[in-house]
Assembly symmetry: C2
Homo-oligomer: 391 residues x 2
């Protein structure tokens, strides 16, 4: 049995990034950049007006004659001469001799004559070439997670595609003879299968869509076969259940028979103690506890960071934050506790119903309160650490 | 011009939820529940063993004879008599007379004889019927946002579909003759269009996939026609650009001609002052500034909460958090400032490059620092408020 921090280090140590692919900008959302990207053009690429107003020469800032106008998108730009002003709109190119744009609210127009009611600062409202970024400048760095702002930014630079790491293909094996599919009345002593769809949604939430789901009967032969088959396709294999030491838990043996190398089995934590992790060449395998809440906790603390690392992330773990605990808690067994909790501003309250089978409290949790093994007793009012489930 | 808080109130006041639909559990992720849901079965629905071990009668906790075994999923459960123990596995039904499960690690087995090395507490490791939830209990409340844990929970209760609010169909109109599509060298005085794809990705991030994108030429006639056409289909219309007071900004007139009622125009904020919001019957329209960073800020502060409200959310606004400012800031113009910022633990630092055209800093921001109009000068070390861009 190893500590949570050791388990996380082993997960990190065995997280090869996947291959680099070029994807269209439309498909890049949620991917991580596989290379530094430099700006192919300057932003802006021409001297641009930041406002609606009049382009002027600052040293000539007196009453002027309006001799033309320029709109955003105009290829032909009228020439400006001393004593003149050009009507200009936001985004339009600034005429060559102009150095300043006076906003229309600070002027009075009388026919073709422009009266300046205020004198603007020199260079006001003119965006110089490369103000945001010069051609060749570093635009975004390798490992950057592509969000909506990055996509807008890259679109503005004219990128049509970008190099990113592939997202892993994941296989989800669920074990357990007691599991029943939804859609029919529950058979005696059975439970509706929930881990498969729950983990599938958790994977989709982090942008993974190539997911193969397989239900495995509780026999060694079937488990060996299913592991072999999924390892032909998947980059990451998640197995739900069958990882304990009961006589009908065949997962470990099936992984051994398939040559998957164990990196750890059992973590000093509650819930989720019987977590298994191993690799075979560049594929990775997690044996997750069958209890749904344990399974989801292991997903957040280990599987999600591992998947993010394989996608190229540099900050793979869920964000740790601090809050003030609203009740006393005991932790007598020298374990790391992960408690489903609600956090509101900086106050955190663990829910009643922490059993590893209970998803009802997980459904309304926005935090996973972390109590370290040495924290045998924490008190109401103590500052505690939690993992933010808004990610 | 109105204050940010007034604008947000108007957005809330004009945010009708969309119709209620029943969706399959697989499609429910990211939707908001339209009704309270009660448990159709108890969880667990039978007395279940929480561990691998032996089912016993606590008052008979001495050395016992093993007379049978029961696995998870077994429909037939062997009878247990006084003086006997039944081998039992996690998730298996507990025999009728048994009240306790002793874990296997606390026993020694010799043939059919079981030696108890510890006496467990009465009822240990037996999950009573309804321990998590009893049939008819409230499972999840109206307005709950369905996440992966809720989906697992609802699957475990046997739900195959759930009543949710429809997600809005959104039309995205981009205006601006200076805009050019990616994929060809940039024409003089043009810019690559970025707001359309950026807003599309922002919409997809909050689970909206029915998005129609239309590019509108800068004429009143084209703008009137495009607004009319999109209002035939969309629940929410987002118009990027053309909302200022320049001679070529036709959006307001086009909206008036289409009978859209204005609720506000211009908010006392930077960036994003020329924001427009209106409704027509149960459709809503936002006129967003054309500058990409202004546009995205208005999306986060107004459009996103509005869309969430229409989807049934009870907490529509981005989470407000506190952090310690790492530099002095001036805010002399009595406006609300939204500054692109990086927050690390509880330290926040606005980026250099706040201009409303600049997406480079937005791409790496995880926070939007909020400076209120009365905060004319904030100092390094002050506690400030930010909107969390991890959502």
């Amino acid at each position: 049995m190893i500590a949570v921090s050791e388990a996380q280090k082993l997960i990190e140590a065995h997280s090869l990034t996947l291959q680099v692919i070029e994807v269209n900008l439309e498909e890049a959302f949620g991917h991580y950049l596989a290379e530094d990207l430099n700006a192919p053009i300057s932003l802006p690429s021409f001297r641009q007006s930041a406002m609606d107003g009049y382009a002027i020469i600052h040293s000539e800032a007196k009453n002027l004659k309006i001799t033309g106008q320029v709109q955003a998108g105009d290829v032909q730009v009228p020439a400006l001469n001393p004593g003149e002003a050009i009507r200009i709109f936001t985004g339009a190119p600034v005429p060559e001799l102009a150095d300043t744009v006076i906003i229309q609210e600070h002027t009075t127009r009388e026919g073709d004559n422009l009266i300046l009611n205020q004198i603007p600062a020199k260079n006001a409202n003119v965006r110089p070439v490369g103000e945001q970024l010069k051609v060749g400048d570093l635009a975004l760095t390798k490992g950057h997670r592509i969000n909506e702002a990055s996509i807008g930014f890259l679109a503005g630079l004219g990128f049509t595609s970008v190099p990113v790491y592939k997202k892993p293909r994941v296989a989800l094996l669920t074990t357990g003879n007691e599991l029943q599919e939804r859609g029919a009345p529950l058979k005696p002593n059975h439970i509706y299968e929930s881990n498969g769809i729950m983990l599938e949604m958790a994977l989709k939430r982090i942008g993974i869509s190539q997911i193969e789901k397989i239900k495995v009967p509780d026999t060694l032969e079937a488990t060996v076969k299913a592991v072999k088959k999924t390892l032909e396709q998947a980059d990451v294999l998640l197995i739900s259940g069958g990882i304990s030491v009961g006589d009908y838990d065949f997962v470990q043996e099936a992984l051994r028979e398939n040559g998957v190398q164990e990196h750890f089995y059992k973590v000093n934590q509650k819930p989720g103690k019987p977590l298994w992790f191993g690799t075979q060449a560049d594929q990775s395998v997690f044996g997750l506890p069958g209890n749904p809440a344990s399974s989801l906790t292991c997903f957040y603390v280990y599987v999600l960071p591992h998947l993010r690392l394989r996608m190229g992330s540099k900050k793979p773990f869920l964000e740790e934050r601090k809050a003030i605990l609203q009740q006393d808690l005991r932790n007598p067994h020298d374990k790391t506790l992960f408690l489903k909790a609600g956090v509101d501003q900086n106050r955190i309250m663990p829910f009643t119903g922490q059993a590893s089978s209970m998803l009802n409290t997980y459904a309304v949790s926005n935090a996973l309160l972390v109590i370290e093994p040495h924290q045998t007793g924490v008190k109401q009012g103590d500052t505690v650490t939690y993992l933010d489930l808004n990610f």
